[in-house]
Symmetry: C2
Subunit: 211 residues, 2 copies
């Protein structure tokens, strides 16, 4: 395995990836030290290709030389291996299934969120209803669904600026939830700040020919 | 909850669904008794809509009146609740992540498998390599990935007849694995036989205007 000379925990990632951010947040919640290796997503490294031969995509977590791929599968892996701290999935099977359902929903709808399509507000409203009056999606503790969603929340502000609309007006609970999440060290340390996100989004739009 | 007058475990399903078959196989492996309620997928029942308000799709497992949706999330739920028998996900976190990765791969590629697209053989070959010389995807015991894939295997024979090609020539290990799976009561009881599958596929093709 090519990762032999690396640290015990290695993350192959790219700083703009919301999927990679999920993994970083989970590792920070658990207090796991890891070596971050920024990847060139165009000219892919041998390490990336060997670690994720099926999809050749970041993020990949390499633990003791063994690669784990796909962001929410990595988050579950991290939750299972470092189970002594900051439990991300609840204990009770029905609550676990619910959390997986919502993380899955966010994954399936993530592309729409990412591209700020017209159904963006509909998705956010659905999540607003599911959150309800809870502090986090699980209840009182930060968990699996929060990890899945918060990297998208990190771009709400940029979407608002670009598309000139107000998320808070229609979904005050989700916005309040996002702010609560941003107060966690694990989240604020990982998510780029609003200005950086805004610049990134403008850059992506120019890249896709949208001015 | 509308399901109060039903059995402890209720499955909302449609007999042609490969996603529903996964759930049935998991329940059979665990020896769980359940009430099967065939659903009209066109004129959806109130019970289905109330149980899966987000996607309004089968399968849905209702346990003690609480609905769990999405086939592989249901399979994990079943594995966690009835954990005393026929463990479907292995204990070791890395092996669990691998199993989830492959189940996810099958889910993502399932549509291609279903529609017998040109990359069908490429997907089957990738799975052939992952299976290697193991008895089941986990190793010696029937598990999570087997549950995810075997309902698709159930249609290989029909695909071969319709498209006039031979899967076994290129992927003998997968075909042998499929036959091993078919010897399990949980699988043979649930999957329609070859002839029924063939007729179903012909019917679907006619429905889509393919003769």
């Amino acid at each position: 395995m090519a990762a032999n000379h690396h640290a015990e925990v290695v993350l192959l990632d790219h700083w703009t990836s919301q999927f990679g951010q999920r993994v970083c947040i989970a590792l920070e919640e658990k207090g796991v030290e890891y070596e971050y290796i920024e990847q060139d997503t165009i000219n892919k490294s041998t390490l990336l290709i060997e670690s994720n031969p099926i999809y050749k995509k970041i993020p990949v977590l390499i633990h003791h030389g063994k690669p784990v791929c796909e962001s929410m599968i990595i988050v579950q892996y991290v939750d299972e291996v470092w189970s002594d701290k900051a439990q991300l999935l609840p204990d009770e099977p029905f609550a676990r299934a619910r959390a997986r359902f919502w993380a899955d929903y966010i994954n399936n709808k993530g592309e729409a969120l990412e591209e700020a399509k017209k159904d963006f507000m509909e998705i956010v409203k659905t999540l607003e209803v599911e959150l309800g009056d809870k502090t986090f999606f699980n209840g009182d503790t930060f968990g699996f669904v929060d990890v899945a969603l918060v990297p998208f929340f990190g771009r709400f502000n940029a979407y608002e600026k670009i598309a000139n609309f107000n998320i808070e007006e229609e979904c005050p609970k989700i916005v309040a939830w996002g702010r609560r999440c941003m107060h966690r060290d694990s989240v604020s340390k990982i998510l780029p700040d609003d200005q950086k996100n805004y610049e990134l989004l403008l850059k992506l739009r120019r890249h896709h020919g949208v001015e």
